[in-house]
């Protein structure tokens, strides 16, 4: 059954009603420079509706991209559209329809949680009574219902992350920018935060872009991923497609010349990721990937001893390693 929302004026929106059709964000040849450093180099990417992960190591340019999309940073060249509007010409119209959860601790000083969230709702254009009503609702939604009258400055790190999410969703945005939303959270809080983000994207139909350097976070919450490295887009697409529909990953430990064997495997067209613990992850593409026999044959040919083989499934980590490794 379709859930509906009611407002003070009697208007309603079904929760599963589409918010925006088409790519939520498009960047074309986007370059951003900070002094001598190029933070973004000719970035061209399309973010489809739904949950999209913006993945990359620290310094890859993820936050810079989000801040450029918000209009905080003026790019050296290139163009950007967010929910169909040009960032350069309609920044306010865009910000009216998006929610932003910044990476660093941010709040309005001297307010308790409910006043803060209601205030943010009003700043986004909600009438004061609606803003207050929604502030209570979203605070319960993010799990701060019992603490909503406490001053934010007394909150723990995890609670501060939740309140940042609450202020970002109070005005019911069409698109959410989440910058490292699980930073500093304990494992239980992190799981709850990821559940919330997953729920927003998949049950509440909120488009979102999740910037993170944590692969499991992106893999759990998102359907698509844009992998960034050193200011460029390394790869992008649906996570399942990038992982590879055919093929299998094997964890492999050998005795013998490991470096030589890795180059042989790569020569055969297999992706290899060498770990610190003598265990390598080998992606064997195609239908032959379901059988590790090919690995044993290569090992026999190269006169190395296979000590350990364990089939695994391709993870986003493999996608990330391949994308960043290819560059």
């Amino acid at each position: 059954m379709t859930q509906m929302t009611q407002t003070g004026e009697g208007q309603s929106h079904p929760l599963d009603a589409p918010r925006f059709a088409g790519p939520v964000v498009q960047c074309q040849n986007l370059s951003v420079r900070f002094g001598k450093n190029m933070a973004l180099k000719d970035v061209t990417a399309v973010f489809p509706p739904g949950a999209v992960g913006l993945l990359g190591p620290n310094g890859a340019g993820k936050s810079t991209l989000l801040k450029s999309l918000l209009g905080f940073i003026v790019p050296e060249k290139g163009s950007m559209t967010v929910i169909g509007m040009d960032v350069a010409s309609a920044p306010l119209e865009i910000r009216e329809r998006i929610g932003y959860m910044p990476e660093s601790d941010s709040h309005i000083p001297g307010m308790n949680a409910v006043s803060f969230v209601a205030y943010c709702g009003q700043l986004s254009g909600l009438p004061s009574t609606d803003a207050m009503q929604r502030a209570h609702e979203v605070l319960y939604y993010v799990g701060l219902g019992e603490a909503r009258y406490r001053n934010i400055e007394t909150y723990s790190t995890g609670m501060k992350q939740r309140i940042k999410l609450a202020q970002a969703i109070v005005h019911d945005p069409d698109l959410l920018f989440l910058d490292e939303p699980t930073n500093g959270m304990d494992p239980k809080g992190r799981d709850e935060m990821l559940e919330l983000i997953h729920d927003l994207a998949h049950n509440k139909n909120v488009n979102l872009i999740l910037s993170s350097h944590l692969l499991p976070d992106v893999e759990f919450t998102c359907d698509h991923v844009v992998v960034m490295d050193k200011g460029t887009v390394a790869t992008y697409g649906p996570i399942d497609a990038l992982k590879g529909t055919t093929g299998r990953v094997y964890e492999l430990r050998i005795k013998g010349d490991e470096t030589q064997f890795i180059s042989v495997l790569r020569g055969e067209g297999f992706d290899v990721k060498d770990s610190d613990e003598d265990v390598m992850r080998v992606f064997v593409p195609g239908a032959t990937g379901d059988n590790p026999k090919v690995l044993f044959e290569l090992a026999a040919r190269e006169r190395v001893q296979v000590r350990h083989v364990r089939p695994s499934v391709p993870t986003l980590e493999d996608v990330f390693a391949r994308a960043v490794g290819e560059k």
């Binding site: 929302t5 009611q6 407002t7 003070g8 004026e9 208007q11 309603s12 929106h13 079904p14 929760l15 009603a17 900070f34 002094g35 001598k36 450093n37 801040k67 918000l70 209009g71 905080f72 940073i73 306010l92 119209e93 910000r95 009216e96 932003y100 910044p102 660093s104 601790d105 941010s106 709040h107 309005i108 000083p109 001297g110 205030y119 943010c120 009003q122 700043l123 986004s124 254009g125 909600l126 009438p127 609606d130 929604r134 609702e137 979203v138 319960y140 939604y141 993010v142 799990g143 219902g145 969703i169 005005h171 019911d172 709850e192 559940e195 919330l196 729920d199 927003l200 049950n203 509440k204």
Partner: protein, 279 residues
Amino acid sequence: MPIHDQGYRRYGGSRASIGRAWQVMTRAGVLSVISKRQFLGLMLFAWAPFVVRAVQIYVSATFQQASFLAPKGETFREFLDQQGAFVFFVTIYVGAGLIANDRRANALQLYLSKPMTSAEYIAGKLAILFLFLVSVTFLPAMMLLLTQAIFAGSLTFVSNNLYLLPAITLFSLAQVLLASTTMLALSSLSKSSRFVAVMYAGLFFFTTALFNALRGITGRSSFAWLSPSASLEQLGDVIFRLPPRYQVPPSVAGLTVLLLIGASIYILSRRVRGVEIVT
């Protein structure tokens, strides 16, 4: 029950048009300040000179023997001069933390991620200080003029001194704009409201001390332009049609005030940004 099962509703109600967020900021800022008892105490003190002057006007209008207390045009100039002290304290109390506290709490990126420009943010903050400063300068001065008319039972004084209406307005505006823009600019330079308060006090005391020292050495007051307070006084004399008190052209004094306001607006435009870029 998982917390996300507790629901999230789509919003289908009305939304204010873009460009009104600064009003929300101002309203919240004003309510936050007047909820403090200390500030209400300060405002009571700030209105005490008005009460004294009102009594003076009443006595002069009621008793013939006290006609020497009757207000003149310069009475209003003196009154606004006296209010300068309260302008100073209100500016520090209300203004020091206006942007500094937001910078400390990283709130600028939250504000500017909403549908508001940095100019609107500055306008919203400026309006808070502006309103309180107007309430200790322009408002009591105008009420004093009204009180005179009420106690005298005629508009003779007002019509004979019609220049007082624009003079009070213009001088109050100069006082308020100079104090509010300067304080807001200083507030944008630091994350500590206490440090901002010290900077503001230092700026006014140091420049005045410098001017007085130069006056002592040279025996002339032509360096009044070095002090924003002295420049404002000089400007006030001209606005109220009184002989200027310093040997500096009023145009130079006016330029000092304008330059300080302009520099403050420039600093604000540079400092109020959603992201701080360090290269």
